[in-house]
Symmetry: C2
Subunit: 418 residues, 2 copies
């Protein structure tokens, strides 16, 4: 049986298969890639029972609880969503083959920069099995081969999903490889496979990302934590500020684009602080603050913020508030403490808004909008591979286009250099 043979391969053999497959996936036409994604969607639907049963094996042997366990659970609805994701990605524009720019040199040499697949993409991720399907869809759509290294808690679900996706007729052999998740050895081999893998994308907690960055020799796209700030300026529409602060903190506190810190202009602090603290407390948010905040909002309502509060990504219903002298103090505070993910200003002053957006050195800077919008789907990318926290290659939410590289085509008529 294909599966057992497949499992018998070493990591090295799987990487070699992926490298060879990448030269085939790179040549697939857009129509062919879309047809493969549609067939994958059908296969996921028709195999939903075996997926659920593989998932049950994972759940039976899992000691995870609560939200962590929930991330692992598959249901008929979640499987239908997987199939839908495959179809949605099929509908997006194919970046491969696009001419990024072209020009002719004075000597007549014509140069064209065209978009090409990256090659082999390595993904290291944790529990959620839908990541398996989403990332396969994004990488196949962009003509890449993919090597997946999922979490051991989802081993049966991932194994079944990869079997289903990779056995769709027309998928080049080796284009979707799943590595052994029982030990860190496969992670180590994957991230050091220079020449076999073109980029590693770690999706998971900070510990995983740090491990990958410290040990990889293959280039990495670093995704990461969001210690996101909202600065409420003295000229802000306070009702607008209320709704943005509440939305950014409360709507989904466990994600990286949720707000963690609130900075308030001193000129409105006496009016606005008691009001927003009240609203946050009403919604079950724990409020911490600097001395000024505690004085104005009431020390009994606000726990004294410690040094580490200004750097911490809470990922839960907790916020730390600081009163600042002006927009420049807000900018300096953000550039010092932010993880450079997403930071927002609420102001009616256009000049100040642009000053803030220019000077805050983050992947996304927002004016009068909730930080929760920093997301591939909300940006209109139709999908998201992650949110890059580095400056190289791509920064902020990234999807199809960022899974490509480029190549120069140089056309002469016997040109030689003098």
């Amino acid at each position: 049986m294909a599966t057992s043979v497949h499992n018998a391969l070493s990591t090295q053999e799987k990487l070699l298969r992926a490298r060879e497959a990448a030269s085939k996936t790179a040549q697939l036409s857009t129509a062919k890639k879309n047809s493969l994604l549609e067939k994958m969607a059908q296969a996921v639907e028709s195999e939903h029972k075996s997926i659920l049963s593989a998932n049950q094996e994972d759940l039976d042997s899992s000691s995870l609880e609560g939200a962590m366990r929930d991330r692992l659970v598959l249901t008929p609805k979640r499987i239908a969503e997987m199939a839908q994701a495959l179809r949605d990605i099929a509908k997006l524009a194919d970046p491969v083959g696009q001419t990024i720019k072209e020009w002719t040199r004075p000597n007549g040499l014509h140069i064209r920069k065209v978009r090409v697949p990256l090659g082999v993409i390595g993904i290291i991720y944790e529990s959620r099995p839908n990541v398996t399907v989403d990332t396969v869809a994004l990488t196949i759509k962009t003509g890449n081969a993919i090597v997946l290294r999922g979490g051991k808690e989802a081993v049966h679900s991932n194994q079944r999903l990869v079997e289903i996706l990779s056995s769709v007729p027309g998928v080049p052999e080796g284009a979707i490889e799943l590595l052994d998740s029982s030990s860190r050895a496969s992670v180590q081999e994957l991230i050091q496979a220079r020449g076999f893998v073109d980029v590693i994308i770690p999706r998971g907690g900070q510990q995983l990302i740090d491990y990958v960055i410290e040990n990889a020799t293959v280039p990495v796209i670093e995704t990461g934590a969001g210690n996101c700030h909202i600065f409420v300026d003295e000229s802000a529409d306070l009702q607008m500020a209320d709704s943005i602060v509440i939305n950014a903190k409360v709507q989904r506190p466990s994600v990286c684009n949720a707000a963690e810190k609130l900075l308030i202009h001193q000129n409105i602090a006496a009016e606005y602080l008691p009001r927003i603290v009240g609203k946050l407390l009403e919604r079950g948010v724990e409020v911490r603050g600097d001395e000024q905040t505690r004085k104005l909002a009431g020390a009994e309502k606000v726990r004294a913020a410690e040094a580490k509060d200004w750097t911490e990504e809470y990922l839960r219903l907790c916020i730390a508030i600081k009163v600042v002298a002006d927009v420049d103090e807000a900018i300096a505070h953000i550039n010092h403490y932010s993880t450079r993910h997403s930071d927002a200003i609420v102001t009616a002053d256009e000049k100040r808004a642009h000053h803030f957006m220019r000077l805050v050195d983050s992947a996304a800077v927002l004016w009068n909008a909730s930080t929760r919008f920093v997301d591939g789907g909300e940006f209109g990318f139709g999908a998201e591979m992650g949110i890059s926290n580095q400056k190289l290659h791509c920064r902020g939410p990234f999807a199809l286009e960022e899974l490509t590289s480029s190549k120069y085509e140089v056309i002469g008529s016997g040109h030689v250099r003098g």
Copy 2:
């Protein structure tokens, strides 16, 4: 004196200064940056005596000989060229602040992707002191701070140049830092300075590049070796093939875009092989070849190629020739042995040319042009930081634009997520 104080700083202190300077260089206007470059050019000119005398100190204590010593030597002409490079880069368009794209979402949210500086750029390089000036010019033009780690053989020249460039009035303190070159300790600190340095660009031999890639935790732009191929197709204009092969091999054999391998279509091998081998030998090129090549061109003229000849980057007047059955064998050979730098086809068959350019997985693919054109200057970039051999961030020759990152500006009117 500023110099001695500066030298007394630790690597860590210099990196911190650079990090802080980057927030200032990022805000310099184009006019201000161009004016700094002009002032730097004037300072290099007016200080040419002290530069020459510092360079003499390096030469006096150097044991380098021949071409390696020549790379280190400064002359009044070379100093004038440094000043010219600064002025040339001042004239180029400033990519910082450009809107890469912008769009409005159906909910009214306006999103703008703008070009911003990378931040702090670390350069590790070997002997040539002009690299000090060129890279400072490119990084200052793009609003970045730069940390230089030059070779110990050029320590006095680099020290003097950095003193001159960094003391131009208006250059933010810490924007141009030079690290100690007496040991590898500073390299190690630089390449692991996550959070302080945004990208490392190693410019030098393969050993240096490998060391950086294996030890860096900061993202790297890998530049590297060029085992470049020319495939002469059966339909090639043979006179054109002659001039391209000779130019690519002979014009400057020591550089990465020189041709190292020649593949010849079997249908023209009997006619073309003796001819091109004769022309190469006339120009002092050592010719190696496969069995077929030796048979057709004469075994006494062609040394038998060994396995390692197909992978080696000679960087001298030596070439290895192989007869191939067709364009697909040429493509397969190139994709197997090439360093994916620059590979060319000479053919009169347009369809075959496009087939070759699409399937050869190299940074640059050329049709009827010498591989020697793969160069930032020849591409019209006005300058070159290097030639990237990786697929992430940039691929092929890169200059100003590739020294930038991007940021998303998101503008709402009180937008919150539902």
